[in-house]
Every structure is written in C-alpha cells, then in structure tokens.
C-alpha cells in the first residue's frame, strides 16, 4: 500500500523532472504517450483488476472524451481547456453509467462482447453522424490549448508533459482512493466471489457500477488529453487498435495493482519506439515479445515481481 503510493509518486516526480530537463522533443513525445497510456490503462485496470470483468469496449469512453474535447474546443465553440477536460470526463462517466446499466448485468464472455458491441456502435456512429462528428473525415480543428501558451516555459511539448503529469496524478489519486476504500474492498470481494459478496451484504450491481463509472471518467480524461495533444480526432479513437494496446499494457504490466499499468505503459511505449529499428519485423517481434511475456510471467511483470520479491508486499495490512 505504502510501497504502491511511493512508486506512483516517484513516477510522477520523475516524469516532471524529465519533462523539465529533457531537451529532445522525441523523448518528450514518448513521455507524453507514456502518460496518456498510463491514464488509459489505469482506468481499464480498475475494471479488470478490481471488478474482475473484462471489458473489450473500454475505448468507448476514451473516444467519447476525445470527441467531447474536439467538438467543444472547435474555434466556433471555443471552450477553453480548463473546461473541456472536465466536460470530457463527465460525458464519459455519464456514458459509463448508461452503458454500465445494461452491460453490468452480464458477466464473463457475455460482458466482454457486449462492451465491445457498444464501442463498435459508437465507432460507426462517429463515422456516420456527419453533422456532429464530421464522419470519417474527423475533426481536425482542435486548437493548441491557450492555457499552455500563456507561460512561455510551457510552450511546446513540455506543457503537454506537465498537463499529463497533472492528469496522471488525478488518475492515480482517484484510483488509489478507490482501491483502498471500502468500495474498493467491496469490489474485490465481488471479484473474488459473487456469492460471498452478496451474502455479506454487498450489492453487486452498485459497486461494479461505481467502479465502472469511475473508470469511464478516467478514460474520458485520457481521451481528452489525447485529443488535445494529437489535435485530430476521427472514428479511429473508438477502434480496436487502442483496445488492444490498452489490454496489452494492463496485462503485461500486471492487473490488479496500481503500479502494473504504469509499468506496462512504460514498457509498451519504449518497446514500440525501440522496435521501429526493426522495420518490417517490428510488429512480428512485438507479437512474439507479448507472447513470451505471457509465457514467462502469466500475471504480468508486477505479478512476477510480486512472486519473486514477496517480502516487499506485506499483505497483512490490506484491511
């Protein structure tokens, strides 16, 4: 618990220092990606790791967040960054509530696929509702946030890194509080055994819903960050590639621990960047590496660490 908190804070401080002192913009870009993936994966991890269900459509909330920012910050609407990001989070959370009401009644493979169905419906909507989303042409008029232009030091990528650190900090805080709250424990009880949970008084629907909405909220934040940074949003933000990356990050890093997604985000981003050296072999190698990690550390890197260095994790204080 303490250990987790220290690692997360350490990560934030390190990112901030790197953001402040790194001169190479490509590395800063990678750092921004790490931060974005961290947020996204952390939010997915809340569901996978703490509710124990596996949504294949978590990207829906990421996409909604991204589109909200894109639509609201278009020059004709002109809502500033300080409002678009919260708005994105709220829209995503509201969608989470709606979608959760339908999907959380199901479990196992049925939950996996019905969530996928929702994200695909949204992707197709985004591609066909021309008047709102500009369809497959996407929205490309997202301006550089004025907020980051105000302080000269924050210009360019550095501003995005700092924004990312701030948002990641929020994500960590929310995740941390959730996991170590009575709601988090209720969710874990539910994950471990639905029957036991119910018979000690836990309302299954209420808690899975709560975590689901929070996770959607955070995914919305990640989507907002993405949209502001890339400055273009099209239907691909609802696409399966994001889902796959997200899943790989969470499971590679190790689900059910707050550090796992961070580790996964760092590993996957660096791996993708490094593998660019290998040209055509790139993705084949990536696939092989993912497979190799599963075979040698089926519970992800954190699972492996936990197994090897158990003493670090005094679990007794979990209550």
């Amino acid at each position: 618990m303490k250990f987790e908190r220290n690692v997360l804070v350490g990560f934030l401080i390190l990112s901030m220092l790197l953001g402040a002192f790194l001169q190479n913009d490509y590395f800063l870009h990678l750092l921004v990606l790490v931060l974005m993936y961290t947020m996204l994966a952390s939010s997915l991890n809340l569901i996978v790791g703490y509710v124990g269900e596996f949504p294949l459509g978590h990207v829906a909330f990421f996409g909604l967040g991204a589109y909200t920012v894109a639509i609201l910050s278009a020059p004709s609407v002109g809502v500033p960054l300080t409002l678009t990001i919260p708005a994105a989070a709220v829209v995503a959370a509201a969608a989470g509530w709606l979608i959760g009401r339908i999907t959380l009644r199901l479990n196992g493979p049925f939950f996996v696929i019905i969530t996928l169905a929702f994200s695909e419906v949204l992707r197709l909507l985004a591609g066909n509702w021309i008047s709102l989303t500009n369809g497959p042409m996407g929205i490309s008029s997202i301006p550089h946030p004025a907020l980051l232009d105000m302080v000269p030091w924050l210009q360019g990528k550095r501003g995005f890194v700092m924004l990312g650190v701030l948002l990641a900090a929020i994500t960590f805080y929310v995740g941390y509080r959730l996991v170590y709250s009575s709601a988090g424990r209720a969710a874990v009880t539910l994950r471990e055994n639905r029957y036991v949970a119910q018979s000690v008084g836990i309302d299954p629907f209420r808690y899975s819903m709560f975590v689901f909405v929070i996770a959607a909220f955070l995914a919305g934040v990640a989507g907002a960050y993405y949209a502001t940074y890339i400055s273009f949003v099209g239907p691909e933000v609802f696409g399966f590639p994001f889902t796959a990356t997200m899943i790989i990050i969470v499971l590679l890093g190790g689900k059910g621990s707050l550090i796992g997604p961070v580790l996964g985000a760092v590993i996957v981003t660096l791996l993708e960047a490094y593998l660019r050296e290998f040209k055509e072999l790139r993705l084949s190698l990536f696939g092989l590496i993912v497979m190799a990690v599963v075979l040698f550390a089926p519970d992800g890197v954190m699972g492996y660490v936990r197994q090897r260095f158990l003493p670090f994790f005094k679990r007794a204080s979990h209550a």
Binding site: S182, V188, T189, V200, G201, P204, R206, R315, H318, A319
Partner: protein
Amino acid sequence: MLEVKSLSKSFGGIHAVQDIDFSVAKGSIVSLIGPNGAGKTTCFNLITGFYRPTRGQVLWDGADVTATNPHSMARLGVIRTFQKTNVLRNLTAFENVAHAQYLKGRTPLWRTFWPSSETAAVKKEISESSFAILELMGLGKRLHVEAGALSCGELRLLEVGVAIAAKPRLLMLDEPAAGLNTREAEGLAELLSALPGKWVDSILLVEHNMNLIMKVSDNIVVMNFGKKLATGTPAEIQHNEQVLEAYMGKAA
C-alpha cells in the same frame, strides 16, 4: 425473529420445497435436517433471496421480506454460508474475514475520494475482530495463507468465520461440519452453542452430523421430499419412527 410460511419452490417438474413452515426464535438454534435432496439448501436459498419462492412467505421481525435480494437480507442481519465451499480464494484467511466486515467498515460512496474517509479506529477494530474470529475458528496459525491453499476442512471453518465476521443476527450455516473429523465437529458444536447471545442472536443450521445436531439444537425441523416430516426437540426427533426410517437408516 425469522418465520417462514408455506414456503414452496419447484424447478420444472421437481417440487424441491413444498409448504414448509417453521420459525426461529431469538437466542435459539434451529436445525433443518432431512435426507439428501430433501430441499434444505433450497430453503436457504429461498430465505436469503437467491431464489424466488413459487409460493409462500418469509417474515423477518414480523415484516414480509419474501424475495428480498441477498445483499439486502445480509443487511437485515441474515448471513449464510454455502454448501459448496465459497470463499475469496486469492485472498488470505485474514483478508477473507476482514473483507466480510464490509458492513462495519462501509463508508458512503461519495466519501470514497475524501481524504481520511476511513478512520483508523474502524480499521483497527476490523483488524482486531478479524484476529479474534480466526482464533475462535482455530485458524489462528493460518492467518496469512491464501484461502485457495487451505485444506477442505479448514475452508469450512473459514467460511463459518467469514459469516460470523459479517455480524449476523441470524446465522445460517449449510453443513458447516462437512469435512471435519469427529473431534473438530465437537469443537464446532461447542463453538456454535456458545455463539447465540454473544456473536449472533440465533442460528439456523443444516447438517448431517447427528451428534452435532443433537448437541446444539433447541429445535429440529425434519424435511423429506420437500415436505415437512416432523418438528420437535432433539429428544422428540430422536425417537420419531418416521424420521429414523427416512433419515437415520440403520444408525438408529
């Protein structure tokens, strides 16, 4: 405290439970016995809301709580265990018991993100009562073993511990002694007799271990083929020909 009235449940053509009436008074231990497939577990499922009765009523403190969902029953103080072992397999024995005290440690959802939402006092209390309960169940040495790695018998005890931790008023145990040896079952009998008034108000027990039943029960309800066959004190039941015939077989 608990009263069931002409409780019935059928699955397709199978009448698993038919017109069962009984009640559990405060401070008492009532046992439900009967041959395999008589409908005991189904009764449990009906009372705790895992199944919806085809007919009949469940009353709790006089109020109708028929088909109330399981977690709400738990909040009313009706906590049960399961015949097929159900625990939090990936958590330690200690965590199992601690997590079961959900109702005690619960904070409103909106306060989740409030710093200091949980007072250290509550945490300490939960932790202390967890130790106490595990000690009570004789699992004091197995505190930090993952539940999945416990042996069958230990799991049964842990399950009872989990149920007690949830602060029941009525504790409903489905074959808690299954898998315990004679001596352990005796220990459990003593434990159960001591529970009412201290940890719980009353106990509703399903068990096939006759020694235990006879030792702890104030009242026994016998079921057969879904129907009530007899009811009475242990002494009465012990001498009921029908019960002996249907249930005890040669043991009599």
